[in-house]
Amino acid sequence: MFEIIGQSFIQLATLENFLLMNFSLFFGIIVGAIPGLTGMLAITLFLPLTFGLTPVSGLLVLLGLYVGGVYGGSITAILINTPGAPAGAATILDGYPAAQNGKAKKALDMALYASCIGGVVSAIMLLFLSPQIAKLSLKFGPSEYFAISFFGMSIISSISGGNLLKGIISGSLGILISCIGVDAAGVSRFTFDNYRLLSGIPLVVTLIGLFALAEVLINKNRKLDIKKIDSNKIKQEEKLLMSELLESKNVIIRGTLIGNIIGAIPGTGGAIASYISYSQAKRFSKRRDEYGKGCLEGVAATESANNAATGTALIPLLTLGIPGDAAAAIMMGALMVHGMTPGPRLFTEQGPQIYAIIIGFTIINILMLFQGKILIKLFTKLSTISYAMLAPVIAALCLAGSFAVNNTIFYLYLALVIAIIALVMHNLDIPRSPMLLGLVLGPLIENNFRRSMAISDNTFSIFYERPISLVFLILAGISFLTPVIKQSIHLLKKRFVNE
């Protein structure tokens, strides 16, 4: 392993990579800080721009945007009571009251240190745990892969946003879209006699339509009221003292642990991790009464957890090929675009590259500390850019990016059609994330199911006679049903209380 890590350093240690990591992190923080724009959007927009880079450089750019997006969300959460990204939502609880009490600089510093510690630990976990899990999963056959992909799809119930039926429809629609084109048996499906559809719809075009161009259409009537931030006033405030940081060390350690564990569970993510970490920090704190009134410990709890979830969320993706959340699903698409198929073979076949990417991920988290310290004034200013100025840039990048996939205007039409579908889905409260899961996991489910059936002479016994596939199918059932049961109990309780 250490020999491969040595080789990976050669690929990583270039001036180009260093600059790209810094630039992408910078843009990620800005996008994450702008309310309504997430790291996911940044990754989608920049994905076509990475085509000209090597896989390592390209993925470092996307990881910089991913990490920056999560941290950036905390800046506006603290300063204007609006989280830039969902993962920063819990930071509002104590971050904004702290800013109101004249402790904005301390809260921003605390968010930065906690984010950096959480992120670095998470990246180290990713570096050392992933190869071990990958080694185990090398023994997997098609039936295991089918079960794992099916398990990946089961998180639909957690990301359906309250209406499971709509989530299932969205997920099924995603798999149907992934069926477009010529399948493994040489049969053309849903091509409607259009030769351009024979090779299917490229994932990048679908991502651009579903998450980037759709945002421009959805935000047509967006109100442009911007809360102004007095960055000079913040500059004059007191810095975070070392003693204050040390007082929160237990909270940061606990938050980092919670974030690491929650992040590795598919279907969860940084937002859930930060809320759990906050409630646990409050439970064990001596200053319980100060929580919600601008307590810096509260900021440390949420920020350490949401950044700690970023690295471990990539463990199931890199080792098993299961994206833990929508952002990881986009990263999975990005890996595939760069010729790297997520799964256990990634570590054996493309070891130096993947280790270079993981080490780069650790470095990005450290660079975040320097950028946060030096450029915070600039970030606060840029986070208030009007959406009116961003929408045209997003649209132009989407259209140029879709064209760049295969130098054809036909893909621009496809991106627009998908964006219109996403607009309709948004207006009908149908979640888009399950569709993305379907798009990414659909081909894996079908191909592995077909292979399993061929091996077992068309009997289903292969799925329950092999222990690993059986375990994952049971896990899929549990993962699918748990949120449903929880929601039903919650509804019953609510009805009981009302009566």
């Binding site: 076509p48 721009l49 085509f51 000209g52 209406n163 039926l165 709509k166 299932i168 429809i169 099924s172 629609l173 798999i175 149907l176 069926c179 399948d183 048996a185 049969v187 053309s188 499906r189 849903f190 409607f192 421009v216 259409l217 047509k220 009537n221 967006r222 442009l224 009007s386 959406y387 009116a388 100025m389 929408a391 045209p392 840039v393 649209a395 132009a396 990048l397 259209l399 140029a400 064209f403 760049a404 130098n407 205007i409 621009l412 039409y413 627009l416 964006a419 219109i420 607009l423 309709v424 207006n427 009908l428 409260d429 149908i430 079908e446 199911f449 077909r450 059936m453 068309n458």
Partner: protein, 164 residues
């Protein structure tokens, strides 16, 4: 006599509408599946199998959504007033602008057509400062050069005066 508004309430809520769209789409595809996916022989698991299963899932969920919409509509106040219609028409017009852009793109090229599209977006947000328009036009020029020299992707140029 049944109140017209009551019937509208039952049909025009998000659950029912999702169900109606989902069931119509899935039924159409299920009926025409043999034409859409032509398979030579029927096997246990053919190229039609997965789409067929998915379409049945969508159809079943859509029908339940329609029922949900009708049952829950008693608690939802749905009014279709001018504002809702205006909003809907606004979205159609906005999408139409993008469609028009795609038609114009091969004729007048990426730079000019994208400048026109982004101007339309800025007008939508009631931007009056000419400087904002200039900033966006400059970014479009940068994007064009970025794709040309960094990715070696030549974005569509005009067929009218060959170049831009």
């Amino acid at each position: 006599m049944i109140n017209r508004q009551a019937i509208l309430n039952r049909i025009l809520n998000k659950e029912s509408l999702s169900g109606i769209i989902g069931s119509t789409l899935s039924l159409y595809l299920l009926i025409n599946l043999d034409k859409i996916i032509e398979i030579g022989s029927i096997t246990t698991f053919s190229s039609q199998s997965l789409p067929k299963v998915l379409l049945w899932i969508i159809l079943s969920c859509s029908l339940i959504l329609i029922l949900q919409g009708i049952i829950n509509s008693k608690h939802i106040e749905t009014t279709i007033d001018r504002a809702v219609v205006k909003k809907g028409l606004g979205y159609i017009l906005y999408c139409g602008v993008f469609y028009l852009y795609l038609i114009l793109l091969p004729i007048i090229g990426f730079m000019i057509s994208t400048c026109m599209l982004t101007s339309a977006i800025l007008i939508n947000y009631k931007q009056k400062k000419w400087l904002n328009y200039m900033i966006i036009f400059s970014i479009i020029i940068i994007i064009n050069f970025l794709f040309k020299f960094f990715l070696y992707v030549y974005l569509p140029s005009s067929t009218l005066w060959g170049g831009m």
